[in-house]
Amino acid sequence: MGGTLVIAEIQDGKVRKSTLSAIRFAKQVGGPFAILALGAGVGAAAQELAGFGAQKVIVVDDAALKSYTCERFAPTVAKVAKDGGWDTVAVTASAFGKDLAPRVAVKLAAGYAADINLVKVDGGKRSYRRPTYAGNAFSWLEITTPAHVVSVRQTEFAAAAPSGGSSPTETAARAPDDAAAARVEFVSLEVGKSERPDLGEARVVVAGGRSLKEQFNQVLEPLADGLGAALGASRAACDAGYAPPEVQVGQTGRTVAPQLYFAIGISGAIQHIAGMKGSKVIVAVNKDGDAPIFQIADYGLVADLFVAVPELVKELKAQS
């Protein structure tokens, strides 16, 4: 019958906002779609997901799925997709989606379009656009197998809004774990005590480079605090230990597209730009007026960041 199976990302029984981007994708390509809610204690999440106009919400509620490991999740996703005849499996390219999708693709013998930022349907034929070479180029990708697995960029597929109505729910059983891989054990989840919004969901991101050295937090935090921003960092700053690796923005880190992005002391290596060029407004502060970051910034200050940032903090307070 075809159609899209959207995999919901559920944590502690709650639907993560990332899910809504995969729903947006399903609506864009058209045709029927279902949402798969899998986990343990996902009843409330399934109810919430019923409000997005899906043909149905498929619920796999099983204690063994309490925490995510791809060895437990991937077989079930593949089974539900096969049993329902869904020809496309879509998930948002979060840490969860990026880990899960390739495994599902192999199980379905499907081609996988990873981290796409646009989809085009032309005479029933679909092309997926994705950034390559650190965002220096775009390429259009075609999948040559009947089944497609797709992960979509959260920053480029706006969260779908509830469309009212209530999709029927049906339950499905969990598939057996992978034989070779079933022994992967989820031990625990450590949640950081950050008061800041998540990088991927923040409206404003303040990111710093290596030149901040040990003063990374001391300089950037007042600016981030004033704007309710998330903190990010260049890879050089993370590799040097001035910022933790999980806040790295770039090709090999997180991809962000906030309303406002501050690049403070970041020269703008193409790998960094790849992770933030989708930001609506980019402000760059750098001593070197020829730094490549100015090629993609909207507003630039050629200035000593240790002077400019405190001044900016003062001025934001004064003009707010």
Partner: protein, 256 residues
Amino acid sequence: MNIYVCIEQVPDADARIQLNADSTGIATEGVKWVLSSCDEFAVEEALRLREKNAGSTVTVLSTGPTRVVEAIRAAMAMGADNGIYVETPETADDNLTAKALAGALKNEAKVDIVFTGKGDEDQGTAQVSQLLSEFAGLPCVTLVLSAEYGASSVKCKRAIEGGAFEIVECPLPAVIGVENGINEPRFPSLLKTIKSGKKDVKALQMADVGVGDGDQKTRFKNFRLAPPKRVNKIRGGPVTQAKELVRLLHEEAKVV
């Protein structure tokens, strides 16, 4: 332990990316190709594990056109013992690549652990670790920030969104995808660089590892370069600059 590392050769970070004549990929002439900096972390992790387990070997695996042998030698210059290379087309997709790597691993007598980098600085898909583990029938943990290696399992800390970390225990053999920054990769030594040039890198064809053109499941077409943008550089002293920037953010961009 028999330790394996899958690596990738990518264009140098400073390379100017241009398209080829029919826009099906990038122009490869004049591009400097290097060992992916993400994979240096994987190589380093493998070398450290070898140092803790006497009698272990580190074997580096890669696929692609013949030029990738240079990247294997770069990993050998860091200290890896052996290299294996499967010749695949320039246009091979991740599915074919991963299946070829898994096929090469299956040819080996005993595999205890396979390291991969976060990888994919070129296409940016970062999916080879998971695909390869599925083809090889091995468990896989990605985004590993730190790991404790036991005799038969490895305990991994992996970074997910929202400042949270998952702790996962995984039996060996397994595929461990390391996060950038898990360690500090060593520089290649001059002596090892010279020696690595003389070491054999085992060359395999696709048929040797049980893959064919039919394992290509996606096709790239129509590459486009991203368009440039114009910046408004704000002039003046620090106070003037700050005032003007905040004004523009309020009144023009309307984002604060």
